[in-house]
């Protein structure tokens, strides 16, 4: 048990009238630390907040941004909701698929990239919206994709 994570979670919990409210920020912290919410990560959060690991799994699995399976070090998310789809999101997605050699929902074998589609990202007027490591790029056209992938490949992990 890393006592740093434990202590950080205690600090967050103190902000709320009830400690349980800290579960989402605590899971986010644990995910940043472990890369994903492994059973071990869930156990640590559970211990810090005095809930069960099962409870942590119940919460984590409800939200799309928590990963209960390992994901790549870079996360590429393409919005394919209507507004983006109307202006070519599927073509952008396919450009990423061919550039990365994986399908939506998959992670590259080297563990560097996860590609997935997401529901409306909230940049509809500037579609297609692509979130790269949680920073929005908008608008992205299919022809921008090789450059983005190249940029990520050359960046240190």
């Amino acid at each position: 048990m890393s006592s740093a994570l434990y202590d950080e979670i205690q600090t967050i919990a103190a902000q709320y009238p009830e400690r349980r409210s800290a579960i989402m920020p605590a899971l986010r912290l644990a995910q940043e630390k472990f890369g994903w919410l492994s059973p071990e990560a869930l156990r640590e959060v559970a211990d810090a907040l005095d809930v069960t690991p099962a409870y942590c799994a119940a919460i984590a699995s409800f939200y799309d941004m928590f990963h209960l399976e390992p994901v790549g070090r870079h996360m590429v998310e393409v919005c394919t909701n209507i507004s983006c789809a109307l202006v070519g999101a599927q073509q952008v997605l396919e450009a990423f698929e061919s550039e990365l050699g994986i399908e939506a929902g998959q992670t590259t074998e080297d563990g560097r990239f996860t590609l997935r589609t997401v529901e409306c990202a909230g940049g509809c007027g500037w579609g297609t919206v692509v979130s790269v490591d949680h920073r929005y790029r908008e608008p992205v056209k299919p022809e921008d994709v090789p450059g983005i992938v190249e940029e990520l490949r050359s960046a240190a992990d």
Binding site: Q15, Y16, P17, E18, R19, R20, S21, A22, I23, M24, P25, L27, R28, A58, I59, S61, F62, Y63, D64, M65, F66, H67, L68, E69, V71, T80, N81, I82, S83, A85, L86, V87, G88, A89, Q90, L93, E103, A104, G105, Q106, T107, T114, R116, T117, V118, E119, C120, A121, G122, G123, C124, G125, W126, G127, S131, H134, R135, Y136, E138
Partner: protein, 455 residues
């Protein structure tokens, strides 16, 4: 985020052009936090009276009068419990991105609105439930809040009044349903974001079983302007029953997508053509979703409908979240139905039966229609399933799936019929929404989806 283009009657964004209002000094230079100072000198009830006089209606979707909602809360002396304010910044209605721009460009106006509203109800703490994906906006609001705290505009002893207001930013983690107010409260309490049965309403028993006022970002950001102008003067903007301005999110097949703040009552035509630059590529307007994906669709013929609550209701639809999605003639309405249904299936929280099972069923039928394998009976079945969801769910999400899809069939019946008659999609692969990969269909990186998605 590309800059927002000039629109006509700006109120919230009036001074944001060419200025960095994310910085406190700049915001104060254009009169920022003057409304707060004014409000703190007013009785709580007088602040609520201004909101009532302004006839401000919620900008989150339901359009409930804000002043009335605030007046449902018990007075601070009349309840042993603390009173809370919650800002709904979970913006995730498809097509909507206005709250994001408000937080990114005028965060202090949003914070000022929070402090004024918290004063009006006597809150001791406020929570900003901020959509998890909005990382940059979180950073901006967080920094602005820090500035405001340093300046004594929030936190302990606000402006020397002796009143303490703690403001906590609570980040979401990707669940559309958490925009629904009671699901949001559950999520804020550290539970699964599933809606609660009402009553009790949040005004009586909200977060931590305490009286809670929940308002949308734009609603709260409008509050300082109402205090500045006075409710009566604000009410002169817009039209009857739909006062003031609204930030409309314009997207889809339109030349200049973006957020535009205009007076309520402006017509769809003006927004789409005069402000948005019309339909690009010489295509024709086919359909408009006027208030986010949860509302019924309008046809091109209805483009003159004014953007206000009553006119939209008369046209059989709703102003919703103010997200105007424009579709040109390349859009297959069956694919639209399928993609919208897929969204709601993905976002159904799983608590109540009709929504959980019904949205999945809708997706199955729509896919069959799109693939040209549905019988006539199945088109009727689709409408019947929509009908059986409508009004029977715990929260409005089920309705939000059934209503728009039923409207697509109603207004574009011939197109649905062609899919059945011709045994396939008449667009033959040329529709803009052809084979779009929806998150429900992809292999999930979260819990392995054990449901078998009908092929």
């Amino acid at each position: 985020m590309p800059p927002t283009r000039k629109a006509k009657h700006k109120l919230l964004f009036a001074q944001a052009e060419g200025r960095d209002l994310t910085r406190l000094p700049e915001y104060e230079r254009v009169g920022g936090y003057e409304s707060l100072k004014k409000a703190l000198k007013m009785e709580r009830s007088a602040v609520v009276d201004e909101l009532l006089a302004a006839n401000l209606r919620g900008r989150g979707g339901a359009g409930f009068p804000t002043g009335r909602k605030a007046s449902f809360l018990p007075k601070p002396g009349d309840t042993p419990k603390p009173i809370y304010l919650v800002a709904n910044a979970d913006e995730s209605e498809p097509g909507t991105f206005k709250d994001r721009e408000i937080m990114a460009r005028i965060p202090h106006m949003f914070i000022e609105g929070i402090v004024i509203a918290a004063h009006a109800i006597g809150a001791s703490a406020a929570f900003i439930y901020l959509r998890g994906e909005y990382l940059r906006e979180f950073e901006i609001v967080r920094d602005a809040l820090e500035e405001a705290r340093h300046a004594g505009l929030a936190g302990p002893n606000v402006l020397g009044s002796g009143w303490d207001l703690t403001i906590v930013i609570h980040r979401g983690a990707g669940a559309y349903i958490c925009g629904e107010e009671t699901a949001l409260l559950e999520s804020l309490e550290g539970k699964r974001g599933q809606p609660r049965s009402k009553p009790p309403f949040p005004a009586i028993s909200g977060v931590y079983e305490s009286p809670t006022l929940i308002n949308n970002v734009e609603t709260l950001a409008t509050v300082p302007k109402i205090i500045e102008l006075g409710g009566k003067k604000y009410a002169k903007l817009g039209v009857e029953n739909s006062t003031g301005t609204r930030v409309f999110s314009l997207s889809g097949n339109v030349a200049n997508g973006g957020n535009y703040e205009v007076e309520l009552g402006t017509s769809l035509r003006e927004l789409i053509y005069d402000i948005g630059g019309g339909i690009p590529g010489g295509r024709e307007l086919k359909a408009i979703i006027p208030g986010g994906s949860s509302v019924p669709v309008l046809t091109a013929a209805e483009v003159d409908t004014p953007l206000d609550f009553d006119s939209m209701a008369r046209a059989g639809t709703m102003l919703g979240s103010g997200a105007v999605i424009v579709m040109d003639d390349r859009c297959c309405m069956v694919q639209l139905g399928l993609r919208v249904a897929q969204f709601y299936m993905h976002e159904s929280c799983g608590k109540c039966t009709p929504c959980r099972e019904g949205t999945r069923w809708m997706v199955s039928i729509l896919r069959k229609i799109e693939e040209g394998e549905a019988s006539q009976g199945e088109l009727d079945l689709l409408l019947n399933v929509c009908d059986r969801i409508l009004g029977n769910c715990l929260c409005p999400l089920g309705d939000a799936a059934a209503m728009p899809v039923a409207s697509y069939v109603a207004r574009f019946r011939a197109e649905y019929q062609r899919h059945i008659d011709e045994g396939g999609c008449p667009f033959d692969g040329d529709s803009t929404l052809d084979h779009v990969m929806a998150p429900v269909d992809q292999h999930h990186a979260r819990v392995r989806s054990e449901i078998e998605v009908p092929a």
